[in-house]
Every structure is written in C-alpha cells, then in structure tokens.
C-alpha cells in the first residue's frame, strides 16, 4: 500500500465511499431518493470510520443499508436478494479495486512501498481517478453480463452466500494482515488468491446450476412428449374407427337403397342402421370427444394418460365433459395429485370386478365444478373410515396412503369437498370445487 498523508487519505476515502454509493446505485435497482439521502447524511462519519477500520466500515455499511431497506423488503420480499447481491458486489469492488489500483499506480509511477509520498500532489486525484475508472468499468461489465440477465431467485441466494463468504474472508484477511503489520505485496497476493479462488467457485456454481436447469427442462419436455404421443395415438385410433364407420355406413345405406322395392322401407333394417350408427357414435368413435372441452392442460394430460392406460388394461372407460372448462378453483398440482390417486384406486378396483367399468364425468354447475370418478367393484366394500385411515390398503402393506393423503391435501381448503358413495356395485367419488375466491 502506498502511504500518503492523513488529509489526502481522508479525501481518498471520501471519494472511494462516494464511488461505493455510485456502485450501489448502478448494481442494485434502488431508486428511492430517501435511501441515497440518508447515505449522504452519514457520509462524513462513515469516512472517518473507514479511515480507521475497514472491517468495521464494511459491517456498519451493510447493517445501515439493511436497516434502510428493511421496510421495503418487508413489503416486497422478491427484491431483497437481488439488492443484497448488488450490495455485496459493490462492497467487493469497493474493497478490492483500491488495492489493485494502488499497486498499478505504484508500478507505473515507480513509487516505493511503505514510504511516505508527500511530494506528489497529483497522486491522490490520480489514485481516485483510477479507482473510479476501474470500478465503473467493472460495474458496467457486471451489470450487463450478470444483473441484466434475470437469474432465478434460488440461484441469486446461492451467489449471495458465496459473495458474503468471500467478502468476509477478504475483510478478515485484510484485518489480520494489517494487525500483523504485513502490508505491501503480500496483501495483494493474498487478496488476488482469494479473488481467484472465489471466481472459480462462483463460475463452477453457475455452470452446475445451468446444467440442473437444463436437465429439469429436458425431463419436463420428455413427460410432455409422452402425453402428446398417447393423445396422438388415441386420436389416430379414433380416426381409424371413423373410417371403418364411414365405410360400413356407406354400405348399409346402399343396401337400404337396393332392398327397397316400391315405397315400403324395410323398417327392421332401418332400425339396425340407426342402432349401429348410435352405437358407433356414442360408444366408440367419439367417446373421448369431451376431452376437447377440458382446456386445462395438466388435467387433460393426466386424463389422457390414465384413460388410455385403463382401456389398454381391458376396462370399459366412459368420459364426459359437456361444457368447456378453462379454470378450476384449486391449485393445479394438488388437483393432479388428487385425481391421480382417485383414478388409480378406481382402475385398480374395476380390474378386480366382473363389470370392469370406470367412468369420469366433469360437471359444471353455477356455483361449482364437480369431478365424478366411478368404478365397478367386486365383493364387499370395506368401511370408509377404515379406508381413510393411513396405512390401510387392500393391496398390501405400504400402499394405504392414498385416501389419507388426499385428506391431508384438502384439510385446509374450504372450497373443496370430497365425498364418496356406493350403490349397486358402483363406487363413486365426487370431488366438488366451489367457484368462489381462489385458493
């Protein structure tokens, strides 16, 4: 460190502190005028403090900023971490750049360390100038590369933690070295080492986070593709059935025309034709057409997969949704989980039954949306209270968490109700979701 006399040092610290404020302005998004006003108010005491003790200055500054921003953070927690990130970056630049600039200046002007330089009046403004220049350049680079790119909050937290640790180390080492009267080149080497190490760490963190994100996106895309494929396969199957139907129908009509002699129509045959067409339309070709009314993607995907699966298992599956549904007043994740559990239970029970029927109906009334899942079952139905108890299952141990899970999910929710009933071999679960305020 270049030694300069007290007054110049004071000026240097003053301008460095001003530089810090400017960095904070650049690297955080704080526009509150009162914030900067308060900082300026305490400028003088802060400078005095920084002249004597760097570590304490850093601590006091951080505490001060936190105190000033506390109210805003309480109102809008989202900005908290990005502002802390900016603050830590500013402090990092503020503590490191002067160190390096002094080294640079001393090298360029051929000065000696630990020797008082009192006869060069341009020295201090030069130092200040270099500090400012370097800081602003670094700040702008950081701003465009890092801050402008919106980083997810989780990642910002990780970076803040690393920066915090880094700064702590820098200050600690600075203090220790100063106490031990080790100055000069050793201090610079120490700090360079720390900077290098933490840069590497942060960079590797960034790489890892990016890789994780990509992995997550990829698996989500894969899941979507599976659903799309199932849906497409179902549509294609439908199309085949439609073609068969068109072919048969044409033949039937032709036959009708040729058997008709005179004016009497073969009533029997006509009824056969009508029955056939109704059978095809209602139960075969268009049986899942209601799915197009369900406009909520995750639910649609879930139903497509579950219904197709149930049909593959040989069950007779009915689905109805007569009116377009765009919004359900229940968190989608919860709804998907609940429906998943209910449908799995229904399919399992239906498989064990002779009739093998699973029916899913979505009904919209004025005040509610009802999802009704029905299945045939065999034998005696166990009591509902036993079914809901955790740990109960007729599929063996470790499986009985379904219904009690649903209860846990719905426990706090006043808008949603799940009821069950069974009648003549059909077990029905009715999920009623009110259309009131959202939950």
């Amino acid at each position: 460190m270049i030694l300069i006399d007290g007054a110049s040092y004071f000026f240097k610290e003053l301008f460095d502190l001003l530089m810090l404020f400017m960095l904070i302005a650049l690297l955080t998004d704080i526009h509150q005028k009162s914030f900067y006003f308060a900082l300026f108010l305490f400028l003088f005491p802060l400078v005095l403090l920084s002249v004597t003790d760097a570590l304490l200055t850093g601590l006091v500054l951080s505490t001060f900023v936190v105190m000033l921003r506390f109210k805003t953070w309480r109102k809008n927690g989202k900005r908290k971490f990005s502002e802390i990130f900016g603050l830590l970056l500013s402090l990092a630049i503020y503590s490191i750049v002067p160190l390096f600039s002094s080294m640079l200046v001393s090298k360029s002007l051929g000065l000696h360390f630990n020797v008082l330089n009192a006869d060069n009046p341009l020295l201090v403004p030069f130092l200040i100038g270099i500090d400012w220049f370097l800081s602003i350049v670094i700040a702008f680079i950081l701003k465009s590369k890092v801050i402008e790119r919106s980083i997810p909050i989780e990642n910002v937290k990780i970076y803040c933690l690393q920066l915090g640790v880094f700064l702590t180390f820098v200050y600690l080492f600075g203090e220790i070295l100063r106490r031990m009267q080790v100055l000069g080149i050793f201090q610079i080497v120490m700090v360079s080492f720390l900077v290098a190490q933490f840069s590497v760490t942060i960079f590797m963190t960034y790489l890892k986070l990016k890789k994780n994100q990509e992995k997550a996106e990829l698996s989500s895309l894969r899941a979507q593709m599976v659903v799309m494929n199932t849906y497409t396969a179902e549509i294609e199957r439908n199309y085949q059935e439609l073609r068969k139907f068109r072919h048969d129908y044409k033949n039937m009509l032709l036959a009708l025309k040729t058997t008709q002699t005179g004016s009497s129509i073969n009533e029997d045959y006509l009824n056969q034709v009508i029955d056939y067409s109704h059978q095809m339309i209602d139960h075969s070709v268009m049986r899942f057409s209601g799915l197009s009314n369900l406009k909520i993607s995750p639910i649609k995907s879930l139903l497509v997969v579950k219904l197709a699966h149930a049909e593959q298992l040989g069950l007779k599956v009915n689905f109805e949704c007569l009116v377009p549904l765009t919004k359900i007043n229940l968190d989608e994740v919860k709804l998907v989980r609940i429906l998943g559990i209910l449908i799995d239970n229904a399919v399992e029970a239906a498989l064990g039954s002779d009739a093998g029927i699973v029916t899913i109906i979505l009904i919209a009334t004025r005040e509610t949306i009802e999802i009704s899942i029905e299945n045939s079952f065999q034998g005696k139905l166990p009591s509902l209270s036993a079914m809901k108890r955790e740990g109960y299952s007729n599929k063996g141990k470790d499986r009985g968490l379904g219904l009690s899970n649903i209860q846990a999910i719905l426990a706090s929710n006043k808008q949603v109700d799940l009821s069950h009933y069974s009648n003549q071999g059909l077990f029905v679960s009715v999920l009623t979701i009110g259309k009131g305020e959202s939950v």
């Binding site: 339309i281 109805e320 007569l322 109906i361 509902l384 809901k388 209860q407 009648n423």
Partner: protein, 252 residues
Amino acid sequence: MTLPIILCEDDIALMSHYKAIIENWIMINDYDMRLVLAATDPAEVLLYLSQNQLTNSLYFLDIDLGKQLDGIDVAQQVRKDNEFAQIVFITAHQELALETLKRQIAPLDYIVKDDRNEKIQIETVLDGRHQQVFVDHRPNDRHLSFMIGTRNFRVDLTAIYFLETSVTPHKVILYGENMMYEFYGKMNNLEEEYPELLRVHKSFLINPNKVTAVDYKSRTIFFPEEYSCSFPLVKAKILKKHFDRIGSIIHK
C-alpha cells in the same frame, strides 16, 4: 292434491302436440293432474316457478344440446328449488347416453323424440306417476334425504342399516342394502328428524329393524353384509328394552 304438470318444448308445433296428448290422457283416465304450464321458452318456466310454490310436480323438458343447454339450466334450477321434482327429458336419441345428465339432474325418465311412439311414452309416464302418487301412496314409507355435491339422494329408511360419523369432520356415513353414502350431516339433527332410528352411541345411529344380532358381552351390534358397530354400557339397557319389546332378536 292435484299433481301440477309443466311442459317446455321450443318447437311450437311439437309443444301443442304434446300438450294435447297430456291433456287427453288425463281426461280419459280422470287422473288427479293438471297441465299448469305449456311453454316454448324456458324463461317462462323459471318465471312461473318463482311466482308459484310447487312441491310435488312433474316436468316435461325439452333438451336439445344442439342449441344452448337451456333445458339443462331449467332442470338445474328446478332441482335447486325442489329437490325431488320429477323431471322427464324430451330428447333426441343421442342425449340418452349422457351420464352427466343422469348425475346432475337424475331425471325420472326420457321421452325419445325421434321415435314414433312419443304418445305412448308420455302416457306411460303419466300412468306411472298416477300409480306412485295416488295408488301406491305408502305414506308410511319414510325417506332420508341428503345431498352429495349438487346431487340429491333419497334413501328408503327401511333399507338403512346404520349411520356413523365419518373421520372427515361434519360428515356422516350411511350404510344400507348394497349401498354406502358419505354426506354432510349432524348426528343430533338426524336423530331428531328420524325417530325411527336409535342412537346407541355418540357415533352411531342404527335402524333397529335391520339388526341381525346383538352381543351384550362384547357390546357389538351386527348387521347384514358383515357390518357391525359397538355401543357403550349406558346404552345397553335401552337396547335391551327396545329388543325385548320386539322380542325377535337373538342375544347372547
């Protein structure tokens, strides 16, 4: 009391046609029924409902899903005000397959429009109503009615085994012949409303006529289909008194 009948069909020719069938059949058989409203616009029906208090009633409603779901709206409104109104849907063949309608509105029957024998279908419905309401009467047959979601249910008391409180708060479970229902209800209210049922436990309300056996040692009551419930010591006396009076239950 005369059974009021309401007809709603938006094709005016058809509407008159049905009106004639209904009124003729009532007249020929001298049924205690009257067609009080024949409308083409569902709004008229709703207006009539808001102005008149109807209890027992019969509705013939046209459902044509090709247009807006007006028929269903009317049916829903009717159901809301009068849970056990008898609704007959007049529909084209396709709507018969609709499970949604069956659940939401639980219609009494369907009149299929494109069939040639609409007349006979309507007459059958009227016959059925006459039989049920005026001939069979059965005033002693009480029902327990409740709602699950937006659906109404009415269960014959004679088919109920017992009710128990559910682990879900504020709900009770009803067990009966081949059936089980879980719905919102309070044991105390149900006990009051249906004195035929016996409150043998804080959580159990039983139909004594359906009890197959009582074991006083283990304090268990048995029902068909392997159902059972327990009762506390304090109720043992009440049970004994009740069954001694009936004298037809085996107890150990």
